[in-house]
Amino acid sequence: MCTYATVTTEITGSAKGPGGSWFHVTDATVYFDHPVHAMAEHTLNLDLAAPARGPGARVAVELTASAARALVVAIEAALASAPPALLID
């Protein structure tokens, strides 16, 4: 099915995108739905994008549900391992 569910959040950082160029990303879109490329019926899809630069300014990731959960754990672990003083934006 198409879940239609979409979660968005503002972000700040950089991503390496089309043509191998780095660009500043401002928006993340997260949804669990049909992938374009991954060989699964549904995946956790993550877009890191800069809408102001047009639709092509996007880094897309499609992960199985278990892979997405593992990534969340890894991200949290990496953040937890850093000295708190370094985690201030």
Binding site: Y4, T8, T29, M39, P51, P55, R58
Partner: protein, 244 residues
Amino acid sequence: MRAHTVMIDGDGGDKVEAYLAEPDGEGPRGGVVVIHHMPGYDRATKEMVRRFAELGYDAVCPNLYWREAPGADPADAAATVRAAGGVPNARLIGDVAGAASYLRGRPTSNGKVGVIGHCSGGRQSVLAACNIDLDAAVDCYGAFVTGTPPDDYPLKVTNLVDQLPQLRAPLLGLFGKEDKFPSPEQVVELDEILTAAGKSHEFHSYDDAGHAFFAVDRPSYRVAAANDGWERIAAFFAAHLGSN
């Protein structure tokens, strides 16, 4: 056969890109509007458009994401529109109406136009047929034609139950028995609503098939269901669009 890109008048008179495939010969013949799925105006959808030309119809697929992402890669366009909240129902209806008008205005037209969509496009095919004068509609496993999402489900989509009594065209529905959305129970509900409303419809549900069984480039592809489904579609359109 010829296949190429054209510009049509979509909702509100907006110029919208569309992919047209047309058989050789002068006609007259029926037309088919193909509604692309949520992943966009992509290669797989254009292959279906050409297949309808091979079946003898003028077929056109409007790019529903043209306004937000003209010329973009289909996946990028889909992501952009999704992040912006998706395609509004009213705009979808206007774009399909524009595509149907474009087909009926062609010198090859016999005046009859059908619509077909898969997945999100299946729901939109029914939506269009409830609001536009069309001669046939095909819903391939569209979710949320019937069925009520859970209260905590963050959907931006509603079902079409309140619109089904105004369905204006015979409906062919093709579903997988292993699909969860639409589930077999939701297909039964749709069948019962249309029967109670006296609406012409024909449903087929396939064993060993779930969602997206027509998609030849996905692991969900089921050759037996897809082959039979294509035969059902060809027979349904031949009966209602009078191409022969």
